[in-house]
């Protein structure tokens, strides 16, 4: 942070040269200030999670208070005895299983939309996209009623199915833009040599598209992990996920700020890791492959 007032480094190849160079320091400083401001709420959450409950609830804020892991111990149920593991495992199950299912369905579909495109493939692409624009809340009630009849309420596999449908359109769009980068010549050579669809997918497409598949998987994981509405309406004590568990963390009595912050940090951790890992492909995924 001491480097804020220095100018653009001379060693690195600068994309922009000329009259802007000498003003770099002011704009760089401003960028740092904005970055820190946007990071502040998260930083505060991190710091508060490491404070004791009384130190977390002071006015003015007690920045230099001693650090403790008490909040995290509370999250893991030290005094209440309620373990966070069942909801965390439920979230992991729902996110990972739906992500796997998304990939199993999306990779062949994207193949049929980019490498050997079907007729009217753009229409199919836009059908996929249009389902994403249908608000999830619009199908909630029939899903609830069907699940009730089928005895699927409070069942994590119901969430797996719903999260798969939620992420499938995004995944198809993302995968199509990644698969479009697979060189056509190699594919033609392989099919001349008599390779079947599965061989082509596994041996040729998968290695080239691996980073894209990984990014798709991470984004699908993030959206499933974050989901609250379906989880809240369709699950109960057995299949409740981490976000639902988090909402139950606020108590009406006593101090809870450090505990809630610790819980929020713990629950956000997988998303933060997945997001930073996919940072470079994040834009392409979020913009459905329209932006590279």
């Amino acid at each position: 942070m001491t480097s804020t007032s220095t100018t653009a480094p001379a060693g690195r190849p600068s994309r922009r040269t000329g009259p802007f160079r000498h003003r770099g320091s002011i704009w760089g400083l401003l960028a740092w200030v904005c970055g820190l401001l946007f990071f502040l709420p998260f930083g505060w959450m991190l710091l508060t999670s490491l404070h004791s409950e009384p130190a977390a609830a002071t006015n003015p804020p007690n920045i230099g208070a001693g650090l403790t892991l008490q909040g995290f111990r509370e999250f893991f149920g030290e005094s209440t005895g309620v373990s966070p593991w069942p909801p965390l495992i439920n979230s992991l199950t729902a996110s990972i299983a739906s992500t796997v299912l998304v990939l199993v369905l999306a990779v062949p579909a994207a193949y049929a939309l980019s490498i050997k495109p079907v007729r009217k493939w753009t229409d199919v692409m836009f059908f996929f996209l249009s389902t994403k624009m249908l608000p999830t809340v619009a199908g909630l009630l029939p899903v609830y009623l069907i699940a009730q009849h089928a005895g699927m309420l409070d069942n994590i596999w119901l969430l797996v199915i719903l999260y798969t449908s939620m992420n499938l359109p995004i995944a198809v769009w993302m995968m199509r833009s990644f698969l479009a980068e697979v060189p056509k010549e190699i594919l033609e050579a392989a099919s001349i040599d008599g390779a079947g669809l599965l061989t082509i997918l596994l041996r040729i497409v998968a290695p080239v598209a691996a980073p894209g598949i990984a990014a798709t998987a991470l984004i699908s994981f993030i959206f499933s992990w974050n989901e609250l509405l379906f989880a809240r309406v369709l699950t109960g004590v057995v299949a409740g996920t981490a976000p639902v568990f988090l909402t139950g963390f606020v108590t009406s009595q006593g101090l809870f700020l450090a505990k809630v912050c610790a819980a929020a940090v713990c629950v956000s951790l997988p998303v933060l890791i997945a997001g930073f890992a996919a940072q470079d492909k994040l834009v392409q995924g979020l913009s459905l492959g329209a932006v590279k």
């Binding site: 942070m1 480097s3 220095t6 653009a8 690195r12 600068s14 994309r15 922009r16 000329g18 704009w27 760089g28 401003l30 740092w32 904005c34 820190l36 946007f38 990071f39 709420p41 998260f42 505060w44 959450m45 508060t48 977390a56 006015n59 003015p60 062949p108 579909a109 049929a112 079907v118 007729r119 009217k120 753009t122 836009f126 996929f128 996209l129 389902t131 809340v137 619009a138 909630l140 009630l141 029939p142 449908s165 499938l168 359109p169 833009s177 992990w225 974050n226 609250l228 309406v233 909402t247 929020a264 629950v267 956000s268 933060l272 997001g275 834009v283 913009s287 329209a290 932006v291 590279k292």
Partner: protein, 322 residues
């Protein structure tokens, strides 16, 4: 500019297909072999997303309250009449529009500013970029809890705490203290959402800025164009479609927001948006018919946004594939 592109392109594509279909011999078999990998995804999506919506549409015309199971039957348009004349629902439509528009606009402006800053070289750019992405990677419920309890809280929240601290620097002990969530509930919800969505806008706009043809900018500079002129006549027109894309995709996500409203205010104090109202009618009032009618209204509103969104995405998309 986007309209003629989207209108013309499919016709061209179709012509191309017709020309290539002059050898019909092994056509059907080949076509189905091509379609096969597509079908599982397509069928899955139709069954899981389209069929339930048809259910919603059907139920919206029924008299059906789970608390009164004997009185179930065809209700005609009664639910729509109730939904549209109910002042709470009408206010939730207004709330949805205000919430979505303000969050998208504010985060778009911040996102543009930050993208312009990050488009320059400076030391620690990677770190700043990572810090700016962080808000987007906090689980939405966690973020809502953070804003509600750690920042907005009237007695120990960071905002009031900072006010106390600043006032104490000047030797004053009566710093102004606000109960942010009850005095300005909608703005409080909007601020927390804008914090979360600014990184999203920034990432798309930054990608747009970096795809800008630099040689033209250089040429303009050589010809004596100033910073503002370069931005006004080169950067901004190039960014226009990225701005459209960012705001429309943002709208699709924000219009569906449930987490922030649910956690921050529980829909109280005029912050209930449409998804929250549907949730409430269904989950608390158990009026299935009315909830479905509200759901259909939400869809109608979304289709309006979605039409524009699809058009924008398709213009970018066709440019890429052509």
């Amino acid at each position: 500019m986007t309209v003629p592109l989207t209108a013309k392109r499919p016709r061209l594509l179709r012509q191309g297909v017709r020309e290539s279909s002059t050898r019909p011999a092994n056509r059907p078999r080949g076509a189905w072999a091509r379609r096969a990998p597509l079908l599982p995804a397509l069928v899955f999506l139709i069954v899981v997303t389209q069929l339930p919506f048809l259910g919603t549409l059907g139920i919206s015309f029924m008299r059906w309250n789970a608390l009164d199971p004997d009185n179930r039957g065809f209700g005609g348009l009664a639910n729509y009449r109730t939904a549209l004349t109910d002042p709470t629902l009408r206010s939730s439509i207004t709330t949805t529009v205000i919430l979505t528009a303000s969050v998208v606009l504010v985060s778009l402006l911040f996102g543009l500013g930050l993208a312009l800053l990050l488009d320059r070289q400076f030391r620690g750019r990677g770190i700043v970029r990572t810090m700016l992405i962080t808000p987007f990677l906090v689980v939405p419920v966690a973020s809502a809890l953070l804003w509600k309890h750690a920042l907005y809280n009237a007695s120990y929240g960071l905002i009031n705490g900072t006010l106390t601290w600043i006032w104490s620097l000047f030797g004053s002990s009566d710093a102004p203290q606000f109960d942010w969530l009850s005095t300005n509930p909608l703005i409080a919800v909007e601020a927390s959402l804008a914090w979360q969505w600014t990184p999203f806008m920034m990432l798309i706009l930054l990608a747009g800025l970096q795809s800008r043809p630099l040689d033209i900018v250089e040429a303009a500079r050589v010809d004596g164009a100033g910073t503002w002129q370069v931005f006004r006549y080169l950067t901004f027109p190039h960014l226009r479609r990225y701005l459209e894309l960012a705001s429309l995709l943002g709208s699709i996500y924000v219009v569906q927001n449930f987490d922030a409203v649910f956690t921050l205010t529980s829909g109280g104090l005029g912050t209930a948006n449409l998804p929250y109202s549907v949730y409430q009618t269904f989950y608390q009032a158990h009026d299935y018919g009315l909830a479905s009618a509200q759901g259909v209204i939400v869809v109608a509103c979304s289709i309006l946004i979605a039409t524009f969104a699809l058009r924008t995405v398709s213009s970018l998309f066709r440019e890429e594939t052509s």
